[in-house]
Each structure stands twice: as structure tokens, then as C-alpha cells.
């Protein structure tokens, strides 16, 4: 089997078998589960006391009300006595008595507190519609007269593109993008730098390099980490899709999803685009730098320190995006969208803002790709020398000696 693949798989399997990776993967799902569970428990425990009963001698009247508002009605209660008992046990908010006397519809609500404005409005609407039906029937109108009476006024909304959902979608996409890029880069630069540094600390590199070339080993490590990232993204995509399906069918979240369908679709469109390529290439270039950083330390104990320079660079790029969330047309944003290590943040933001042409995106991707290849080639070349410096001498002495291995 190809040695590059052996190193890649060893790195990948070691990472995915670790508890930290399992927790990293499960974390968001556990949080999602806890949120849904808490919401469900809260909703279940309070559900009974929010509902009302509908009592009426005219069964058709009761039935038609329930049909119009089944979520707010406890259908099991059919008479006053049971309703009062349930109210005493705090399992019912109140009951509504409906009747029609001499062609007049009336409703009487008995409760422990006032009706909510929404509920009151729904009951009023129902009563008015029912009364209108009775009035029309008793007036014995012709079809044309009835049609004339059924005319309804209309209300139209015209929304400008830069406001409303479109603008909100951009703001949400901005924050999700920068936080997602920051979190993923931060996690994997730490993992890579620590992985390389602790391996260097075990001083096994001489044995490894007597079996395969440093370039192959270096690339195997990078590919291994990338496989871990892909595994994580895959789990999140499948899990996210599953959670979305679940949310669509859950009574708790169904209403929210319907209400914000356009917004969610717009945000997803912004995220699941060429921006994912920027994320992936960003991870690669940061991972290469993290591997270099890890190769510079001498002891396993210093592994945690190894990631610091790359984490600081990532943090800087993350914070620089903040002032531009409402000013994505700035010249600095345009410049940084071409600069490797920053373009993974800034070009996606320009794409979300519809401010980057295909040519600009292509050029930025080419610069990023060429930088990745150049950086990997250079670091791959000096990697062996750096990884073999495990003595306790000063950083610069080790660094100079590492570089002189290739002279």
C-alpha cells in the first residue's frame, strides 16, 4: 500500500478514534437534543393549562369552533363540571360557552385569567363569521347579492430587496460564516500543531524518515487531518439534514420553520456555495502552517504552545472581519479577499454581499491554491530537517540547523 496512504489513514483513524473527536462531533447534536428536549418538556407541562374547553348544547357549533382552532382546545372536556374540575387542578385555562339564541350567536368565557389577545381575536372572528352565515341565511339573498357581500378588502406588501429577509439573511450568513470558519480553523490548527509537535517530541521521526520521505509523510499528515475535517463536515451535513427533517415534522419547530422558510433558504444558499471551497482551502493552508509550527518545537510538553502562532493569525483574521459586517464594500475587504490566510474569511463575505464577480472569485481561488502548493512544497522540503532537531538548544539554533540539513 502506498506509504502516503498509510500515514494518511493512521493519522485519520487515530484522530477519529479519540474521545476528543467523538465529543467534538457529538457536541452540537447533544446541544440540539437538550434544547429540543427542554422545549418539549416545557411545552408538555404547560400545554394543559394554556388550553380552553368549548361547551355548547349545539354540537355543530362546538364542532365547527374546534375545527377552526384545534390546537387551543382541549377536546376531551364536554361539560361545565369537568371543565371546572380541570380548572381547579390548573389543567385548563378556562371554558367557552357557545350558544345561538333567536338567530344571535354568543360566547361566554369563564377563566382563571383574561384571554390572550390572540385567542380573543380568534374567538371574535369565529363568532362574527358564524353570525354572518346565520344573517345571510335568514336574509334569503340571491347569489349575486351574496357574492357582493362576500367581497373582501386586500392588503399587499412590496418589500425592497435591501431590506427585510434579504438583508437579515446576509447578516445571519455573515456571522455563521465567520464563526464557522474561525471555529473549524481553530480546532484543526490546534489538532495539527499538537499532533506534529507531540510526535516530534516522541523522537520517532528518525525511524519514520528511514521508511518514507519527509514530503510523503508531511502530506500524509495533512491529508489525514483533512479526512478528519471531511468526516466532521459529512457528519454535520447528514446530522443537520436529519435535524432539519425532524424540525419540519415537530410541532415545536414546525411553525418557526414555516414562518422563516424564506430566510432559512436564503442563509443555506449563502453557506452551501463556493464558500465551502474557501472553507476547505482555508483549512488546508492553516493546517500546513500549523504543521510547520508544530515542527518547530522540541519537546512534547511544548505541543500546546506550538499552535499559538497560527491560532493568533486566525484570531486576527476573525476580528478584522468585525468592523466590516455593515461595510463589505470597503477597499480593505477587497484587498484581504485576495490575501491567503485572510481570503477564506473575506471573499465569502463579499460573495454573500453579492459584491464579487466570477473573475474576482476565480482569481482569489487561484492565488489561494498557488499559495497552498508553494507553502506545502517549501515546508515539505525543510520539514525533515526541522523534525529531526530534538535537542534542548535554543529555538534559533535548532531552526538554523534544521534548515542547513538541506544545504
Amino acid at each position: 500500500m502506498n506509504k502516503l496512504w498509510i500515514v494518511t489513514m493512521e493519522t485519520f483513524l487515530r484522530q477519529v478514534k479519540s474521545w476528543s473527536f467523538v465529543m467534538l462531533i457529538l457536541g452540537p447534536f447533544i446541544m440540539f437534543g437538550i434544547t429540543i428536549g427542554a422545549g418539549y418538556i416545557g411545552a408538555s407541562s404547560g400545554a394543559g393549562s394554556d388550553q380552553i374547553a368549548v361547551i355548547s348544547q349545539q354540537l355543530a357549533l362546538r364542532k365547527s369552533f374546534i375545527k377552526s382552532d384545534k390546537d387551543d382546545v382541549d377536546k376531551s372536556v364536554t361539560d361545565k363540571k369537568i371543565a371546572v374540575k380541570k380548572m381547579d387542578k390548573n389543567k385548563l385555562a378556562g371554558y367557552l360557552e357557545l350558544k345561538i339564541t333567536e338567530g344571535k350567536v354568543s360566547g361566554h368565557y369563564y377563566g382563571t385569567s383574561s384571554l390572550s389577545s390572540g385567542m380573543k381575536s380568534r374567538i371574535n372572528n369565529y363568532l362574527m363569521q358564524t353570525q354572518q352565515q346565520i344573517n345571510v341565511t335568514s336574509a334569503q339573498l340571491t347569489t349575486s347579492q351574496m357574492q357582493a357581500l362576500q367581497q373582501q378588502p386586500t392588503l399587499k406588501e412590496s418589500i425592497k430587496k435591501k431590506t427585510g429577509t434579504a438583508n437579515l439573511a446576509k447578516i445571519i450568513s455573515f456571522w455563521i460564516t465567520v464563526i464557522m470558519v474561525y471555529m473549524i480553523l481553530n480546532t484543526y490548527t490546534s489538532i495539527t500543531a499538537q499532533e506534529i509537535a507531540s510526535e516530534k517530541g516522541t523522537k520517532i521521526m528518525e525511524i519514520i524518515f528511514s521508511s518514507t520521505t519527509a514530503v510523503k509523510y508531511f502530506l500524509g499528515k495533512i491529508f489525514g487531518v483533512l479526512l478528519v475535517i471531511l468526516a466532521q463536515v459529512l457528519v454535520y451535513l447528514v446530522g443537520g439534514w436529519g435535524a432539519y427533517i425532524f424540525a419540519q415534522n415537530s410541532s415545536l419547530t414546525k411553525g418557526f420553520l414555516t414562518q422563516y422558510h424564506a430566510l432559512i433558504a436564503s442563509v443555506l444558499k449563502n453557506l452551501l456555495s463556493v464558500n465551502l471551497i474557501y472553507l476547505l482551502l482555508g483549512v488546508i493552508i492553516y493546517t500546513i502552517l500549523a504543521a510547520f509550527s508544530g515542527a518547530l518545537v522540541a519537546k512534547a510538553e511544548d505541543a500546546a504552545k506550538a499552535a499559538q502562532p497560527v491560532i493568533m493569525l486566525n484570531l486576527a483574521a476573525f476580528f478584522i472581519t468585525f468592523p466590516f459586517q455593515n461595510n463589505l464594500d470597503s477597499i480593505l475587504v477587497k484587498i484581504l479577499s485576495y490575501v491567503p490566510f485572510f481570503s477564506s474569511y473575506f471573499m465569502p463575505l463579499r460573495i454573500i454581499n453579492n459584491d464579487a464577480s466570477g473573475l474576482e472569485i476565480g482569481l482569489s481561488l487561484v492565488i489561494l491554491f498557488v499559495s497552498i502548493v508553494g507553502l506545502a512544497a517549501y515546508i515539505g522540503k525543510i520539514y525533515q530537517g526541522l523534525m529531526l532537531q530534538t535537542d534542548d538548544s535554543s529555538f534559533w539554533k535548532r531552526f538554523r540547523r534544521g534548515l542547513s540539513y538541506n544545504k
Binding site: M1, K3, I6, V7, E10, R14, E199, T202, K203, I204, E206, I207, I208, F209, S210, S211, T212, T213, K216, Q384, G385, L388, T390, R400, R401, S404, Y405, N406, K407
Partner: protein, 298 residues
Amino acid sequence: MLKIQDISKDFGSLKALNDVSFDVADGQILGLIGQNGAGKSTTFHSILNFLNYQGTITWNNQPITETAFDEIGYLPEERSLMPKLTIEQQIIYLARLKNKSAKEIKPQIDDWLQRFAVKGNKKDKIKDLSKGNQQKVQLICTLIHHPKLIILDEPFSGLDPVNADLLKQAIITAKEQGAAIIFSSHDMENVEEICDKLVMLRNGQVILNGTVREVRQSFGKTRILVTTDWDKEQLLNLPHVIQVDCHEEKRFVLTLDDETAGPAIFDELTQGKYIEEFSQQPPTLDEIFRLKAGERHE
């Protein structure tokens, strides 16, 4: 055959290797000796292509590339394994990097663990093993793929005499199987015992190169082992005796500055009578090492 021709390597102003040349044939053991910093590890690193150097190194008349790595077993000076892996996982991972399949290696592991008397189970984690056992596992990793060229950097350091014997036996077995073996050591007894050839480096230069016998003979028979009633002072007054060491009671080692003085000293000590022991020999490797290392400071 491993052939090293005129290799040199500088680290800035430091000349780590200076025109080093020697060769090791198949089925031959070469001991590379020298003080710390003499260039032994740099020589190994050059053979393994860890660094760029001037000169030529070939293995079976071909430059050493990644393909040749599969035929090499290397034990570095620093003992190191991956602590979180089990013994089995570690051996298999390193063997796979030598192009051996897990299927091929797995059935051999128990036998190797037994051969090196490793205490523990192959499912034990490396970090749970004693230092000595970790060292033995590392030796197994070096040898399990039956390399044709074995490079051992200070293999005996840290081993007790029993385990040192196990290692010597493994080296001799590999030699009998036709492997070319090169190892560095500060223990001259081991070098003298199992090496066919030796090379001594000083300041990156070869100062001794030949078979153990040739090297020793080249220093002349300047060493006399004698058992006598004479005391140290009397012995020091003998002609051409420059040093007297007493190893046991009445048993001395005399160092001469002229080997031809041996018969005269024999006559002087025996005076026609019986003497329990008198042997004129070339110096031991240990003495040669001390002598040549001492010259450095002259």
C-alpha cells in the same frame, strides 16, 4: 554492499564530516566508533538521506532512495515509539511503512517478543512498558522486516548484560542471514567481540579503518600482560615502559613505546626462571580508543 565515498557535511562553520569513506559488505558487521560529536550520527543520517551532503553513498551500487528504505532497518540513538499504540499496532505500523503487510507481520510478533524476552502482552500499550522493554520493542521494529542493511546507533546503551547478549545474538543471526550491519558503540568490548571491521571517526574524519585485527596489529605489540611479584614502581623502571596498570593483585599491564623492547623485558622479569604469565599483545580496542581520542587534545 554499502559504499561510502568521500562524504562531507558542514553545519554552518562546523565541519561535521570530512571526506569520510568506508564500505560494509553483505554478511559483515562494521563498528563505527568515536567520541560524542565525532560524526557517527551524521554519518548515519547521510546514509539514510536525512540530509544533503557532498560525496557518494551507494547501496548495491545504487543511490539510496525510498525504494532502498524498505531494505533498511534503523535504530536511532534516541529511543522512541508512539506511546498510545499497543505493541502490536506499533510493530505493524512501522512494518507497513517498510512495505510489509499486516498479514505478513502479525503471525511473527509473538515469536519476536519471545526471542527478545519482552515482558508483557502484545496488546499492552507502549507507554505501560518499562524502558528496557520499550527498547526491545524498538529493536523488534528494526529487525522484523528482515532488512538487508541494518544501522544501529548505540544499540547497547541502556541494556543490561543479559539483554545485551540477546541483542548480540540477534545481530549475529542477521549477519548469518547475509545482512550488512553497521553500528556505533562506546562499548569497545562489544565492538571487538562481534565486529568484522571498524571505523573510528574523530572531528568528522576517519582516523582508523580496517578489520579489528588489522587495526590492533597496526598499533604494534606494545602491550604486555604479566603476572609477577615485582611492584609497580619496579616495573615502571624497565626500559621503554611508559605506563603500568594493575588490574588484579600481581597482574599488570605494561604499555611500551617500542614493541621491540618485549624480549629484553621478558629476560629481565624471568631471569631464567619460570614466570606464571607473560604475553605481548597489540593494544585492546579500548586502549586504542582512549589513545586516539586523547590525541585530539594534544
